[in-house]
Symmetry: C2
Subunit: 351 residues, 2 copies
Amino acid sequence: MSVDPARERSAARPTIHDVAERAQVSPMTVSRVLSGGPNVRAELRERVEQAAADIGYRRNENARSLRPGHRSGLIGVTITNIANPYYAEMQRGIEEVAAEHSRRILVGNSNEDASLEAQLIADFLGRQVEGLIVVPSGSGGSRHLTAAALGGVPLAFASRAVEGIDVDTVLIDDVGGALEATTRLLDEGHERIAFLGNRVSVFTGRRRLRGFRDAHAARGIPVAEELVRVGQQDVGSAEVAMAELLALPHPPTAVFSANNRNTIGAIRAIEAAKRRQGDASPLPPIRLFGFDSFEFADLSPVPLSVIAHDARELGRRAAEMLFDRLDGDESDVPARLIELPVYVQSTPSPR
Amino acid sequence: MSVDPARERSAARPTIHDVAERAQVSPMTVSRVLSGGPNVRAELRERVEQAAADIGYRRNENARSLRPGHRSGLIGVTITNIANPYYAEMQRGIEEVAAEHSRRILVGNSNEDASLEAQLIADFLGRQVEGLIVVPSGSGGSRHLTAAALGGVPLAFASRAVEGIDVDTVLIDDVGGALEATTRLLDEGHERIAFLGNRVSVFTGRRRLRGFRDAHAARGIPVAEELVRVGQQDVGSAEVAMAELLALPHPPTAVFSANNRNTIGAIRAIEAAKRRQGDASPLPPIRLFGFDSFEFADLSPVPLSVIAHDARELGRRAAEMLFDRLDGDESDVPARLIELPVYVQSTPSPR
DNA sequence: CTGTTAGCGCTTTCAA
DNA sequence: TTGAAAGCGCTAACAG
């Protein structure tokens, strides 16, 4: 059962040897031509280029990066949920900067699961990525993120940090944003403000809850603990949580929702309640303030203010820090922390 | 200025030789242990595993895939705009299926630019991707997508097709969806229906316009050509186009918008007009029907119906077809075309 | 200016 | 059960 070597060859991708043979030169000359090297007679150069084009030759980057001194040109990116438009924007920012530095990105979804994240990273390292950008998952261990586990491959965190792992990190000003939003609600006279957030095991969840509490402390108003609901990871559970709050004998007059999943769930619950009530006994209006913007925020049927921030910029900055270490001379500065600013947007949109 | 070879070694990633040395065996034995091969004494196996763990060894997949018969485990994906939530969902579907087949995805943004797309694909091929999934850009040539240019690497199209390139393709039922939506509007009695769409050079744009025209033809009602606006690629330009339609002396009574960018732009324009008018002279209501769903569609302040479809499924199906060719025995069936169904959703949501 | 040699990290083949 | 040799595709270093 022997394979015809001619067929075999035609199925395989052409190599530098195939080009050399066709152009009647040595593989070395081909290599020189392809890397734009000097010291090749014009005539030969042309012959080689022609031969390469003829057989559709493409240099094998994997073989190339095997040589000492060469690098893979790959950056590994793990995201907790690419389907979240926020992270999609972030990925775009990362990809832009990577392209500017002639690198490509390998992308994996960790699905908020540390062991999946660890697997992805192990795989990426096996593929010789030059660096990693990670949105760390909210729960599970972090041994796979230690310098020892990464074998010296630079890592940057985006959007969230991990305690005990001291690497370049880009966050948004979670505490400040939550503080600002909550302070505004308090200054508007609200004293019973609900909090809707995701699990406190998630870094941003924790930080935004802290801002919420800090604002209360600063104004000397106690947090209405019975109105604090955490653990809603998706729109559906957020809607349920909000519906429960609305059904309380003494419901909140304002709500701070700590991410866009919770904001959207809250809006849905409020709209559903309105519909149920009809025009007969209109509900008292609920003042809603959310962290994160989203596409339709300014057209919300419920009056809404949001703490907005720039996901693409977040991705860009994380990537830039990584490339500082890879290409720049910043390879051994201590880990840096960037906190991107947030800004307030209200409906109807100010302009 | 010679480099200390010991330091040099420690900086480089450990190789199979380092493990071999530490475990006092030959590299071949290490290789056998690592690939779970049989015929290794238990004691040696243990020693090797220990040594590998000690020095943080990771098998170099790139070197591995150099050997004949081995494959890179990479799939290249180009998307016209990852920041569009629709494509983010699609990417997730692709990634899921790729992971099920133990592959990773290299992702690039083509930004609706064929030459950028060609560059990405060339790069991916250089990295030895086993297959490609492409959302083809709307304009520019397509020579880079021919079988010759790809050198036999399987390609699948997602969401759009390209004339003259006969490969596995997953589309959604653009024509049928547009036909359905337009027919409903006509059957509601509308005779002056506006069309908002993106460039007709974009595959989906063309198909959805065709469905719009077909519906008119089937009902024997002429298309109101002065109300057909194409070329809006983003929310901003769609809003402008819609505002122009509203300002017409004889504005449309209904609008079919051919994608979610245009739908959102239309909603914004209608809301802005409402606000400008105030309660004094309310605008005549506009009936809006859009192609594509989006997160907030059911909370639209303007009554809205949409032609919804499943982006993640689109990605999954494209990837599944690709892996049929890579791993299955479907490697040489003729190119297949799948058209995913669409379904109508209206606000307020039916349930 | 061009070619030969050697070796990047790994594994298939063959021999011990 | 283990190891040595050879070679995957490419290129730095050295000859010529």
